[in-house]
Amino acid sequence: VKAVQSPESSVGPLHSTNGLALDRGPVLGPWTLDSGLETDMRPLEGIRVCDFTWVWAGPFGTLQLAHLGADVIKIESARRTDTTRGLVPADDRPGVNRGGYFNQYNQGKRSIALDLGTEEGRDIARRLVAVSDIVAENFSAGVMQRFGLDYDSLRRVKPDLIMISLSGYGATGPLSPYISYGPAQVPMSGLAGLTGYAGGPPSEVGISYGDPNGGIHGTVAVLAALWHRQRTGEGQYIDESQWEAALAMLPEGLLAQVLNGRPPERRGNRDGVRAPHGIFPCAEPDTWVSIACGSDAEFAALCGAIGQPDLALDERFATAAARKVNEDDLEAIVSGWTRDRDRWDVTRVLQAAGVAAYPAMTSADLLADDHLAARGLFTRLNHAEVGVRAHVGIPWHLSETPCTVERPAPLQGEHTDAVLREVLHLSDAEIAGLRERRILT
C-alpha cells in the first residue's frame, strides 16, 4: 500500500540482484516420486470459470483457480476498466496494460472484452456461462440483476452452475445494498482496533486485508461446492460477505469479549502468553529481526545463544508467566544483544540454537532472497507491454502434477477472438460483426 523511493532505484527492470532466480527452477524435496498418475493434467484442468470479478478480492480468489489449472476467462470492458489496471504503472507510465497491481493478481487468466451494457454482449456472456462450471462476481449489489446475469437467470442456461457473489456486506441484511472495499474491512472487522503499538491509536495492517482474505475464502467455498457437484450433480449459489470472512480471522478478539467482557488491548508485537515476542532493532538503520520463544526450552536456548545462560534460571524469567510480568526488562536485554549485530548473523545464531528468529523482510529483500529463489516463488514471464518483471507466483508445490503460472496477466481483451472461436465456436464473420457493432469493447 505504501511506497517510498528505494535507495536502490537504479536497479534494472529485472531486479534479480543475485541472478539466482533467473536460472533456477523450483527445487522439490525428497518426497518426489515417479508419477503414479495416468495423466499429468493439473488438478482443475477442464474446469472453466466465467470471471466477472474486479479490483482485488474476486481476482485473488480466481487466481487460485488459475494456479490449479482452471481456464479462468475474465470478462472485462473498456467501458468500466478494472481500477487496478491503473495502479502501480510500469516505470510510472500509465496504460491499461501497464498496471502492476492488475498484472500481479490476474496471471494465468484469459481476458475477453465484452460490453455488458448491450443485450448482445449479455447474450454472449450467458452463452459463456452455459459452457462454464463456475461464475464469480464481486460487483455492488444489484449489478448482476440489472444485467440479467444473476444466479436465477444463469441457472436456466446452466442448471448445475456454481456461482459466488462476493460483496462487502453480503447479499442479505440491512447493509447489503452498500458499497465496501477491502481496506475498509480492516477497521470494520475490528482488526485495526486490535492492532497497533501499546498506548497508540488503531492501526491499518499494510494491505487491504479484507480482499485476499475474502478471495481465498471464496476459493474454498467454490471448491467445496465443486466437490459436492462432482458427487451429486447439484450446483449452488454462494453468498460471501467480506466483512464476515474477516471476522472469522478474529476469534481471539471476539472470544475475549465473550469470555471476559472486554477486548484485548493493543500491545504492539507482544503476545498474550509468550515472551520474548517481538521485532528487535539490528545494526544497520531500519533493519529488524523477529524473535519469539514459545516454551521454556526455547527461552533457555535463546539465553544460551546470546551468551547469558543464567538468565533462564533468573526468577524474573524462569517461567512464561514471569517473563510476561518482566517483559520490559527482558526486551531490553534482547534488544541490547541484537542492536549491534547484523540481522542475518542474529538469525543464523538463534536458528542454530533452535530459536524462532528471522529478519523483518522488505520487498527488496524478498526479491533477492536465495531460499525463495531456490523454491522458484517469483515468476518472470515476458509480458507484451511491460516486458519481463517479477511477480509473485504460486506459494505451494505439488509432487505429481507441478503447477506453474502458464501466462502473464492478459492485456485487456487479449483473448476475445480466441475465446469466441474456441469456446463458443463463432465464425470469423460472426466475430467481425460483433466487433463492428462495438460489442467487443
Binding site: L33, G193, G200, H217, L255, V258, H371, T401
Partner: protein, 398 residues
C-alpha cells in the same frame, strides 16, 4: 441437510493454528475431520488464549474451541512406533492428511510422503511449513510473528507517524490462518483433480512465508514496476485512504475512484476542491496528503464516527468505523444474517463464536459439535476395546 464435503475423510495432525484452521474450514462444510493431538499436552493452541478470567486452561482456550468445533479428537504419540502404526491405520481410509509438523520431524513422526503414499496411494498429503518443506531454510523454526516478518508483512505495517517504532505484526494468527485457508483450497483442488483425472494422491508443499508474500498487495510490484521499496514509513498510492480522528474516536475514510472523491467533497460542502490542481486525481491527493490531511481532520473532528459512517453509506462511500468487539456482537446486520453461532462445550459452557464466512445455498455451513476434549474420541475412532485402550494409555501412546 447434507454438507458440501460429506464423505471427505480428513486426518489433521495437530500443530498450531494453520493446520487447525484448514481442518476447521473442511469440517464446517461437512468433512469428517479427525484431529490427532499429542497425549498429555495436546495442540499448541490449547496454550494460547483467550481464557476465562485470563487463567490458562487447555480445555477453555477460545482459540482452540473456535478452531476445533465439528472435529473428533484422538491422542497419539507419534514419536513412538505404536503411535505411528495407529496413525497409519487411520490414513489407510483417509482422503487427506494435513499437518504443520516441522519438515525435519516428518519422517520421525511417520508423516513423510514416501511412507504415507505407499500406505494409501489415493491419499493427498498437505504439509504446511513455515518456510516450505524443501529448500535451504526448510529446517528453520518459526511462530506466527516469524512468518509475518519472513513474508514481508511487518515492515509495511505501522505508521509514518511513529518513525522510530518497529515493524508491526497484525493482531492474532493472520499468517497462520491464511496458510490454513490456502491449504484447504489447494487440498480441495487436488482432491477434485484426483477424482476428475483418475489419478492417485499427491503431496502439497505449502509455505506460510510464501502465502504471506502472495498477499502483499502492491509491495512486490512497487519494486519490480517502479524501483521502490514499500514501507510502513512511506506514503499511499491514493488518498483519501486513512484513519482520522473524529469527535468521538477514529474513522476510516477511503475514496478509490474520482467519482467517490467528488461525492465526498460535495457532501462536505467543499465542491470547489475538485477544481484544485493539487487534488486533481487520487495520485495527486496522495502526493499532497500533507495538505489534505489537516483539511479533512478539521471536518472529521466536527462529526461523530457514526455520522461519518452513515453519511458515507448514503453517499456510496466505503467509509468505516473502527469496530470494537462489542460493536460487532451487537450489530443488527450481522444478527440479521445469523452470523454468530452458539454451541455448548462440556467444560467451557455455552459460548458465542464467529460463524459462517460464506453461505452455501444447497449445503449450508453448520456448527454441529463443540471442540473435542483432549482424547475424547480416541477409543471410538481407533476402534479400541477397553483393554486395548487401557494398555495404550498405560504405555503413554494415547
Amino acid at each position: 441437510m447434507a454438507g458440501a464435503l460429506d464423505g471427505l475423510r480428513v486426518i489433521e495432525v495437530a500443530g498450531g493454528a494453520a493446520a487447525g484452521y484448514c481442518g476447521k474450514l473442511l469440517a464446517d462444510l461437512g468433512a469428517d475431520v479427525v484431529k490427532v493431538e499429542p497425549p498429555g499436552v495436546g495442540d499448541e493452541t490449547r496454550t494460547l488464549g483467550p481464557f476465562p478470567g485470563d487463567i490458562p486452561d487447555p480445555e477453555a482456550s477460545g482459540l482452540f474451541l473456535y478452531l476445533n468445533a465439528n472435529k473428533r479428537g484422538v491422542t497419539l504419540d507419534l514419536t513412538r512406533p505404536r503411535g505411528r502404526a495407529l496413525l497409519h491405520g487411520l490414513l489407510r481410509d483417509a482422503d487427506l492428511l494435513v499437518h504443520a509438523t516441522p519438515p525435519p520431524a516428518m519422517t520421525a513422526h511417520g508423516l513423510d510422503w514416501a511412507t504415507v503414499h505407499e500406505l494409501n496411494p489415493r491419499l493427498v498429503e498437505c504439509t504446511i511449513a513455515r518456510f516450505g518443506a524443501g529448500g535451504p531454510l526448510a529446517g528453520y523454526h518459526g511462530h506466527e510473528i516469524t512468518s509475518a516478518s519472513a513474508g514481508g508483512w511487518t515492515t509495511i505495517t505501522g505508521s509514518p507517524d511513529f518513525p522510530e517504532s518497529p515493524p508491526l505484526k497484525a493482531f492474532g494468527q493472520q499468517a497462520d490462518f491464511q496458510a490454513g485457508a490456502h491449504a484447504a483450497a489447494v487440498s480441495l483442488g487436488v482432491l477434485i483433480g484426483r477424482d476428475l483425472h483418475g489419478g492417485t494422491g499427491q503431496h502439497i508443499d505449502l509455505s506460510v512465508q510464501e502465502v504471506v508474500i502472495s498477499m502483499l498487495e502492491m509491495a512486490i510490484i512497487h519494486h519490480s514496476y517502479g524501483g521502490r521499496v514499500a514501507s510502513r514509513l512511506g506514503s499511499k498510492v491514493l488518498q483519501p485512504w486513512a484513519m482520522l480522528p473524529a469527535k468521538d474516536g477514529y474513522v476510516f475514510l477511503l475514496c478509490v475512484t474520482d467519482d467517490e472523491w467528488r461525492r465526498f467533497v460535495e457532501w462536505m460542502g467543499t465542491p470547489e476542491w475538485t477544481e484544485w490542481e493539487i487534488f486533481a486525481d487520487r495520485a495527486a491527493r496522495a502526493a499532497t496528503w500533507d495538505v489534505l490531511r489537516p483539511l479533512l481532520e478539521e471536518w472529521t473532528m466536527q462529526h461523530t464516527v457514526e455520522e461519518i459512517y452513515q453519511g458515507g453509506l448514503a453517499n456510496k462511500l466505503a467509509f468505516a468505523p473502527i469496530s470494537t468487539m462489542g460493536d460487532l456482537l451487537a450489530s443488527d446486520h450481522l444478527r440479521a444474517r445469523g452470523f454468530f453461532a452458539t454451541i455448548a462445550h462440556p467444560h467451557a459452557g455455552e459460548l458465542v463464536y464467529p460463524g459462517a464466512p460464506y453461505q452455501l445455498s444447497a449445503t449450508p455451513w453448520v456448527l454441529r459439535t463443540p471442540a473435542p476434549l483432549l482424547g475424547q474420541h480416541t477409543a471410538a475412532v481407533l476402534g479400541l476395546t477397553p483393554e486395548h485402550a487401557a494398555d495404550l494409555k498405560a504405555a503413554g501412546i494415547v
